[in-house]
């Protein structure tokens, strides 16, 4: 339990007080703010300029909690093949899922409506792809939409969690994942967040879901308010982190946005955990937009904590990480994520080392362990494949078996960490076995790769089987992912390098030290050995570059501070050719042509070169953005007034243009809207004064003589509605008549016509069949108690009693 922190931030959103997983709402009660979201906000991170999309059944883009952050460019309708991901509405509200997930990421804060998203200033889009036949093409298309624009893809779906399905991405979706991590976010890699399964009650195992089980996805599980395992949760070794979600009826639930502009605190399962982590990652990306897809996974491993989460399998692996099959590395910590992300240096490149077992068939005998080992050097002999420090470990197996659900598979790392790749699945009767299925574990993260890896298979028949048919392990492959050097310690060299650039010191040049050991004391008096090649015609009084009496090219530093000869001036200096000296650039310049502030060619870390003035600045001027890779202020697109990270990621537009997502499009006159496909203004439906699209349901304001009814503009209110004033709107609005009333004059009891099966009694509609045997005495009782005046009792015998006088 953490400090009561309500006083730090308060939002006027009606459900804010119920968002127990973000803040402590009540001083007297226990609270659970271990996800430290509030603390991340207090550090100033709210997801600004980060783009998240929800792969699901659509997103209600005009929901008051989403409209402001809605990003059309992060959205697409794969099912309908157009740009509008609005869900298909039906009476069962089947397509509410995407809208619910979206709110958790980026619901607008302090707008007096519903909730506050974890990254409440992030851009949010939706990819509608679950409301139709899902195929490999549909999945691949969805995973590859605008990979340079969208930072985070959040998905809360997958193959059935029925405890008997083994399924994953097809060949195209696999390629889409690979493309995303290689090329997405301009080479930094797309971030895919996935909800681990909901099949806990069916004994399902998330290793049988190829999406959560992929190294490219961040698999997220859930815990209840009290840190218990929720009934729906699946165990598995590929889960990376956890968030709070719903549990038993007595556990508090998660609140989020709902279809038809509403809010909900219904059961959320693991589905809400993916967007929660997507929101936390958005905060981290705001803190450091240059982190790669693997950096994000390292950050989660490093910062997630067991907190108060209860599991009987928490263990500390050989790299010191606490990990569990229920919760991965534990509850996400948003504050730790932003703090670490801010100072994070990218981990070294990913290497992959693959070892295949011999092709000897091994029989899996019932109730016996089959152990198969592979000894791995971590591919030390091949520099480009060498894995010393582990990240993900994948085991590909070819197993034939008469009943797949009877199998349990474990992997034991050289350091002795045992991860359960598969638990017994009572409902899985399939005889298909595992045909090159890939299991994945994150439990060895940070451990050393070298040594003996053991695959342990146990077959425990749960029902009668033909004893003559044995399972067989035909082949298995160990795929180790990781780095050749320590992912964090290798940064020390980066740090020392940057220090070296700040204070150039010739003594750090290793070459300068090479001959030093050969120098003897008597040589100090008169040196007649060879001079360094950088020494000029006056020779030297010693073997090093700082023993030169003059220089061929440039001298660096003064005689007082130890002058030395160099062929080129180091960073922070420029070569004064006439004086043959290296002179300091202006403060902040890394390379320059002179000592003035406007003679810089490049800038030191943290500063940006303004090309027009050749000067280094802390912040780029309006119309420019800070290019962190080139370390310069680059021009925004010509239509943008302000932009971030890229010339075409606009945050404000020049006159005559307005923002559509993060693109500046020409402002369209009233009665027209900007069509992104045709890139021009197109006329709205005749019933709209302003609109967001061509349909009659896409009006923002209604045309003259039209009234707003539900989401449409109509010439006159239809049956069951009456025209009324709308606060803040120039035109009238059609409001609903009282229940069962077909026409009315206004609000309350003003009905003039009723629905079939109802009768008009005292301007209200009363059901026909009510109380047709009321006698005089009974009616007297109704009358004396004035029941007909009370709304609750209106159905109660009023009609009959009125008719009988």
């Amino acid at each position: 339990h953490t400090r009561n922190d309500l006083n730090f931030v308060h939002f006027n959103d009606p459900k804010w007080s119920g968002m127990w997983y973000i803040h402590c709402g009540d001083r007297s009660s226990r609270c659970r703010s271990e996800m430290n979201i509030l603390a991340a906000w207090q550090r100033g991170y709210t997801g600004k300029n980060v783009v998240v999309t929800i792969l699901d059944d659509g997103i209600e883009r005009n929901h008051p909690d989403l409209a402001q952050n809605y990003d059309q460019l992060a959205s697409y309708d794969v099912n309908g093949n157009d740009h509008d991901p609005t869900p298909r509405y039906d009476s069962s509200n089947e397509n509410k899922h995407g809208t619910r997930c979206a709110g958790e990421v980026a619901a607008v804060a302090n707008n007096s409506h519903c909730i506050v998203g974890i990254a409440y200033n992030a851009r949010i889009g939706g990819i509608r792809m679950l409301d139709g036949d899902v195929t490999d093409v549909v999945e691949a298309k969805s995973l590859g939409i605008r990979p340079d624009y969208i930072d985070i893809y959040s998905a809360s779906w997958g193959p059935d969690d029925d405890g008997k399905t083994v399924d994953g991405p097809g060949p195209l979706a696999k390629q889409a994942f690979e493309q995303g991590i290689k090329k997405g976010r301009k080479g930094l890699g797309s971030i895919f967040v996935w909800a681990s399964g909901n099949g806990g009650r069916e004994g399902d195992h998330c290793s049988c879901d190829g999406y959560t089980n992929s190294i490219y996805t961040i698999s997220v599980s859930s815990t209840t308010e009290n840190g218990n395992k929720p009934w729906y949760l699946e165990v598995c070794s590929s889960t990376l982190a956890t968030t709070y979600s719903s549990g038993e009826f007595y556990d508090r639930k998660i609140v989020t946005t709902d279809l038809r502009q509403r809010c909900t605190d219904g059961h959320t399962g693991t589905s809400v955990s993916a967007p929660m982590v997507a929101g936390v990652i958005a905060l981290a990306l705001e803190a450091n937009p240059l982190i790669t897809w693997r950096d994000v996974q390292h950050l989660l491993v490093k910062t997630s904590r067991p907190a108060h989460l209860k599991a009987n399998d928490w263990k500390t692996n050989a790299a010191g990480h606490k990990v569990s099959h229920l919760y991965g590395f534990g509850l996400v910590d948003a504050e730790a994520m932003v703090v670490e992300a801010k100072k994070w240096r990218s981990v070294p490149s990913q290497h992959t080392c693959t070892r295949i077992s011999d092709r000897r068939t091994r029989y899996i005998r019932p109730d016996q362990y089959l152990n198969a080992s592979i000894s791995s050097s971590g591919c030390a002999e091949q520099a480009d494949q060498s894995v010393v420090y582990l990240e993900h470990v994948v085991v590909r197996v070819l197993i034939v078996h008469p009943r797949r659900g009877d199998l349990q598979i474990n992997l034991i790392s050289p350091s002795g960490t045992r991860s359960q790749l598969l638990a017994k699945r009572l409902l899985d009767n399939s005889n298909e076995g595992f045909r090159n299925w890939e299991f994945m574990t994150v439990h060895c993260w940070g451990e050393k790769a070298e040594g003996q890896w053991t695959l342990e298979i146990f077959d425990s028949p749960s029902q009668h089987r033909n004893p003559e048919v044995l399972g067989k392990l035909k082949e298995w492959t160990l795929i180790l992912h990781g780095t050749a050097v320590h992912p964090y310690h290798s940064h020390t060299s980066h740090h020392s390098r940057s220090r070296m650039l700040e204070i150039p010191s010739p003594s750090r040049d290793p070459k300068a030290h090479e001959p030093q050991q050969e120098i003897t004391e008597e040589e100090e008096e008169e040196y007649d050995g060879p001079c360094r090649t950088e020494c000029g015609d006056q020779g030297c009084d010693g073997p090093n570059a700082d023993h030169c009496l003059n220089c061929v090219h440039f001298s660096l530093r003064s005689a007082k501070t130890g002058r030395t000869c160099v062929s080129q001036c180091p960073l922070g200096y420029y070569g004064d050719v006439e004086a043959r000296r290296c002179r300091r650039c202006f403060r902040g310049c890394e390379t320059c042509v002179g000592r003035a502030s406007n003679q810089c060619l490049s800038c030191r870390r943290g500063l940006y070169l303004h090309a027009d003035h050749s000067s280094c600045v802390n912040e780029c001027a309006t119309g420019y953005f800070a290019d962190d890779v080139q370390r310069q202020c680059a021009k925004c697109h010509e239509n943008c007034l302000k932009c971030v990270r890229d010339s075409d990621r606009c945050t404000a537009c020049n006159d005559g243009y307005s923002l559509a997502g993060m693109t500046c499009v020409p402002e369209c006159a009233d009665g027209t809207f900007f069509n992104l496909e045709e890139m021009k203004c197109i006329i709205c439906h005749h019933s709209c004064a302003t609109c967001t699209g061509p349909g009659k349901e896409e009006c923002i304001q209604c045309a003259k003589d039209f009234l707003q009814q539900e989401w449409k503009c109509v010439p006159a209110c239809t049956e069951g509605y009456y025209p009324g004033e709308a606060a803040g709107l120039p035109q009238k609005m059609c409001r609903k008549c009282e229940e069962n009333c077909l026409s009315c004059q206004g609000p309350g009891v003003t009905c003039s016509r009723c629905r079939e099966g109802y009768n008009l009694v005292s301007r209200t509609c009363i059901a026909n069949a009510t109380c047709n045997n009321a006698d005089e005495v009974f009616c007297e009782m109704v009358k004396s108690n004035r029941l007909c005046e009370k709304k609750l009792f209106r159905q109660f015998c009023c009609r009959t009693c009125l008719m009988t006088g």
Binding site: D133, T135, A140, S142, L172
Partner: protein
């Protein structure tokens, strides 16, 4: 029961030579090219309106000759994948 594939009237096709070449091949066999599949280069989404929308069998007809066209590197009729919201 073993899971039964449900075949759709959509195809994924890999063709090198760009969009134009893909359009040509699509029309040659009666398909409509719905464009590149996400960010996968040379992969196109074809649709055939005269093939039944959902079928238990991979349908045969003149459209299936596309499998044999030398300009086509790879082609796959799309199968419905059961996906569940969590």
């Amino acid at each position: 029961l073993p899971s039964q594939n449900v075949y759709t009237n959509h195809w994924a096709v890999r063709i090198s030579g760009g969009r134009e070449e893909a359009d040509k091949l699509a029309s040659k066999y009666g398909y409509i090219n719905l464009g590149q599949i996400g960010s996968l280069e040379d992969h196109y989404h074809f649709h055939h309106s005269k093939v039944v929308r959902r079928s238990a069998f991979s349908t045969r007809g003149t459209h299936s000759f596309i499998h044999m066209d030398p300009k086509v590197d790879w082609v796959q009729q799309q199968v419905v994948k059961a996906r569940v919201k969590r």
